[in-house]
């Protein structure tokens, strides 16, 4: 969905973006900026779906190298997809897999064709001087092609499975806090100062409500209610005492709560 365009003077959108593409990237938290203020590197034709060209290329190269390194487990591990990779990187990996499948198919065809030719040459008797080594080389080419093809197909299948699992784990209630935020399989601290910290939790976006907590000690856990702009006892509708509400006057805590809400896509 377009966002009313940018003004030439400011290079900013005139309406705030309704989506924070990657909340962990502070640049994305500025919902008025265009392409993370780097239009030479990024494009954002729809106003939402930021295409990171460089990530895409990196993902494609990493995936092609990964598919070509079946016999080097350490290299495969280093090149494998990491948690939290950008969508552009994932897209690049898909392109890399498609490229590898093509490469594998070409190598298998060339290897098997060469193998047949080598057998024919070897059958002449004298030709076996060339034909036998050529058979070995063509065999290796065909085997490499098969391993690349198999790796690419496995990787693509795994990615598709992950995407389907992620999609099916998405909830259906957009009104829940954190419905548009990232899934967190634990508690993420957004701000910390001594024993005071602000944590966010979002186990099942859109299915379970996310939560924002202020911890004041090992027994003091207060839930921030964005709908009320106040703290409540954890898992309770009862508002926290006044000394806790007073903490809202502190700028660092207010900033932390704001950051937490943005992290959750609110």
């Amino acid at each position: 969905m377009a966002r009313g365009g940018t003004t030439r003077r400011w290079g900013r959108f005139v309406q705030a973006d309704t989506i924070v593409p990657k909340p962990e990237n502070p640049q994305d938290l500025n919902r008025y900026s265009y392409t993370r203020n780097n239009p030479l590197r990024y494009t954002d034709p729809t106003g939402h779906d930021l295409k990171d060209g460089w990530d895409c290329v990196q993902g494609m190269v990493a995936q092609v190298l990964l598919n070509n390194s079946s016999l080097i487990p350490t290299a495969r591990e280093a090149l494998a997809a990491k948690p939290g990779e950008s969508s552009a990187m994932t897209m690049g990996r898909s392109v890399g897999d498609a490229w590898s499948m093509l490469q594998g198919a070409i190598e298998i065809t060339a290897g098997l064709g060469g193998e047949a030719a080598s057998i024919l040459v070897s059958a002449t008797g004298v030709g076996s001087i060339v034909g036998v080594p050529a058979m070995a080389i063509n065999g290796v080419v065909a085997a490499h092609g098969a391993s690349v093809l198999l790796s690419a197909a496995t990787e693509a299948g795994k990615r598709l499975g992950n995407q389907m699992a992620a999609r099916s784990s998405k909830g259906t209630n957009p009104d829940l806090l954190g419905a548009n935020g990232p899934r967190l399989d634990g508690s993420k601290t957004i701000w910390q100062k001594g024993q005071q910290r602000v944590d966010v939790e979002n186990f099942a976006p859109g299915e379970r409500p996310a939560s924002i907590h202020l911890h004041t000690s090992n027994t003091g856990k207060w839930q921030y209610r964005p709908d009320l702009g106040q703290f409540a006892y954890d898992k309770s509708d009862v508002l926290a005492p006044s000394w806790v509400q007073k903490l809202l006057e502190r700028r660092d805590i207010r900033n932390a709560l704001d950051k937490a809400r943005k992290y959750l896509g609110e």
Binding site: G186, T219, A232
Partner: protein, 179 residues
């Protein structure tokens, strides 16, 4: 003892551990920790290593002061389901129980690995018919640091907090103990 997790037993033989790559990497570093910086008071040590677990309205909860009532009243109605409620009130941050200054997240994680085993034993002993998840997440970045733990009961009728692929879905280092 498992050198990666520092575990010395598998309670009842049916503890299933799942962890993502970030957690494996963190545990490899935490395995080097030999000593805890700071002090653990007797009171906090007991809260960590010998917590009292009670059941209230079908929820298994860490005891607190004042004690939980047998039936959770209307004050606790602001909840999604019992799993959600348990997971929130049974949450601890390991660093909150240690008296010290500075940032020592790996020590917290090493200690969490010990605490998890004690909680497994206690929960299994006290509630042999129930199954549980103990969830540990670890963070060390510019926003914050430390090891966080919680547990909740597994129920047929409610979805577990963590029930999918933990490898690619979360920016945190995560370990789940299921028993």
């Amino acid at each position: 003892m498992d050198p990666q997790t520092g575990r010395w037993c598998n309670v009842g033989g049916d503890v299933v551990l799942k962890m993502n790559k970030s957690m494996k990497e963190a545990l490899a570093k935490a395995g080097q920790v030999k000593k805890l910086t700071g002090t653990l008071t007797v009171s906090n040590a007991l809260k960590l290593f010998w917590p009292q677990f009670v059941e209230a309205s079908g929820c298994v909860l860490r005891q607190r002061e004042p004690p939980w009532p047998e039936e959770l009243g209307p004050m606790y109605q602001y909840q999604h389901d019992r799993t959600d409620f348990e997971a929130s009130v049974n949450e601890i941050e390991i660093g909150d129980y240690i008296n010290r200054r500075g940032k020592h997240p790996l020590e917290d994680l090493a200690l969490a690995m010990k605490v998890i085993q004690v909680w497994e034993c206690k929960l299994k002993r006290q509630f042999p018919d129930y199954r549980f998840h103990i969830l540990c997440s670890y963070q060390d970045d510019e926003d914050g640091w430390g090891a966080n733990m919680r547990f909740y009961r597994l129920r047929e009728e409610e979805r577990a907090l963590v029930d999918g692929d933990i490898e690619n879905s979360s920016p945190l280092a995560v370990l789940v103990s299921e028993f």
